[in-house]
Amino acid sequence: MMDVLYFAWLRERIGLPKERIETQAQTVAELVEELRAREERYALAFSDLAAVRVAVDQELTDFDAPLAGAREVAFFPPMTGG
């Protein structure tokens, strides 16, 4: 089981901030494929991965990152702090 979090417009498009999911995905990219296949709103949210950033266990990483042992995966747009 893994917590998947969404922020900013990804949260709005998918319609929820967080969900617990059961997945066999080995990498972030495989998880994204699983999510895309679920429903149209996920497919839309993940239609352009160049506009999506990912963190695994609160560390910024990339879509090739392995998910073994991961407890929390978060998807969000490029950050705009300051």
């Binding site: 910024l60 978060a74 490029p78 950050m79 705009t80 702090g81």
Partner: protein, 145 residues
């Protein structure tokens, strides 16, 4: 080092006054505050963040600054939630024996927290609402460090 992420306003004057006060090893203090600029019809800037990761990311950035420059102290305060034009969003302060370290570290902190700390801004005005897009120049700014 002090990292604060909070919804409530902060007292910029009091923070500046307290920071590195009385420290005999410090010769330079640089402070920066960011505030909401009321562009166009902007009424409210809503700042979302990733609790937990935000603090970790800011600490990582501040620690990196401490390894690159000779710093006596670092302070970062960043707010989230709804903010109106003119309200302060965030501040950084750096203290160092010499001013160049304090200036450069403050700029480094600003450049990094803009695109490496998990904050997102949404603008609301009379014409509706929209997420602020990240700028290419913000990412490019990291290149100089």
């Amino acid at each position: 080092m002090r990292i604060v992420v909070q919804e409530a306003p902060f007292d910029f004057g009091a923070e500046c006054d307290r920071f590195a006060a009385g420290r005999g090893d410090i010769g330079a203090v640089v402070t920066f505050a960011g505030q909401v600029r009321g562009d166009g019809d902007l009424e409210v800037m809503e700042i979302e963040h990733y609790p937990g990761m935000t603090e970790r990311a800011l600490e990582t950035i501040a620690r990196e600054a401490q390894t690159r420059w000779s710093l006596g102290d670092v302070l970062v305060i960043h707010r989230y939630g709804p903010l109106r034009p003119g309200e302060r969003i965030m501040m950084v302060a750096t203290a160092a024996p010499h001013r160049r370290d304090a200036f450069e570290a403050a700029e480094f902190l600003m450049d990094y927290l803009k695109s490496r700390a998990p904050f997102w801004k949404k603008e609301r005005g009379a014409d509706g609402e929209s997420w602020v897009a990240a700028k290419d120049e913000d990412e490019a700014a990291l290149g100089r460090w």
